[in-house]
Amino acid sequence: MSEMPAFLEYTLIFTFVVVALSQIMAMIRLVIGPDTGDRILALDTMVVNAIGLIVLLGIAQGIQIYFEVSLIIAMLGFVSTVAYARFVLRGDIIE
């Protein structure tokens, strides 16, 4: 980790833990469902949380090059959510 004040470091760790927790909760929702809509929602949440995780990593490591990754996750998360939903709605996702 890059040099940073101790309080920030603790906050960062706390945030990591919280995001991870949220991620796990989403995962639970994903598994228990009960329906596809809930699962897609859970997946969407997990994607957003993943962006959060990567942003946190960037802060922790003091590196900015993870930006492209976050951007791509944001784009792709959206596309895949739409794709899943379209599949449930229409079967054919690019009809």
Binding site: L12, V19, R29, T45, G62, F67, A74, T81, A85
Partner: protein, 134 residues
């Protein structure tokens, strides 16, 4: 100035982000109705990550290599979230996972239930194409 306030701002943003993210998770897990669940992550989660992105941006200023990138991601998330939510809501409506909505005042039905003729015959459940609430 930046050296002292900066980290504090970062920490605050992070905390806000953490809380909202957690709320999103809790909401997703706790709420027991599928439409209600939709509210938590699409908004709270977005703000949560938004706050973290803000933290990252401030942090970059603290470190001295300014970055505006994060704005872009934030914008992206905010613009796409409603569409995602809309699609998921449509899925819930389509799968009858919620209370039947009232009919629209001006048109015949909601667009999700407005199934084209050639799509109405699927292999098993023909009656499924019509909203059962009506």
């Amino acid at each position: 100035m930046m050296e002292t306030i900066g980290p504090a701002l970062v920490a605050i943003c992070l905390l806000i982000g953490a809380i909202f993210t957690l709320v999103a998770g809790i909401g997703l897990l706790k709420l027991n109705d599928s439409m209600t669940r939709l509210h938590a992550p699409t908004k709270v989660g977005t703000v949560g990550v938004g706050a973290m992105l803000l933290a990252s941006m401030i942090h970059s200023f603290v470190l001295g290599h300014e970055s505006y990138h994060e704005l872009l991601i934030m914008a992206f998330l905010f613009v796409t979230a409603p569409i995602s939510a809309n699609f998921i809501a449509k899925v819930q409506l389509h799968k009858r996972n919620c209370d039947a909505p009232p009919l629209p005042p001006r048109d015949d039905t909601w667009s999700t239930y407005d199934v084209p003729e050639f799509d109405r015959h699927h292999e098993e459940l023909e009656e499924f194409s019509e909203p059962k609430a009506n």
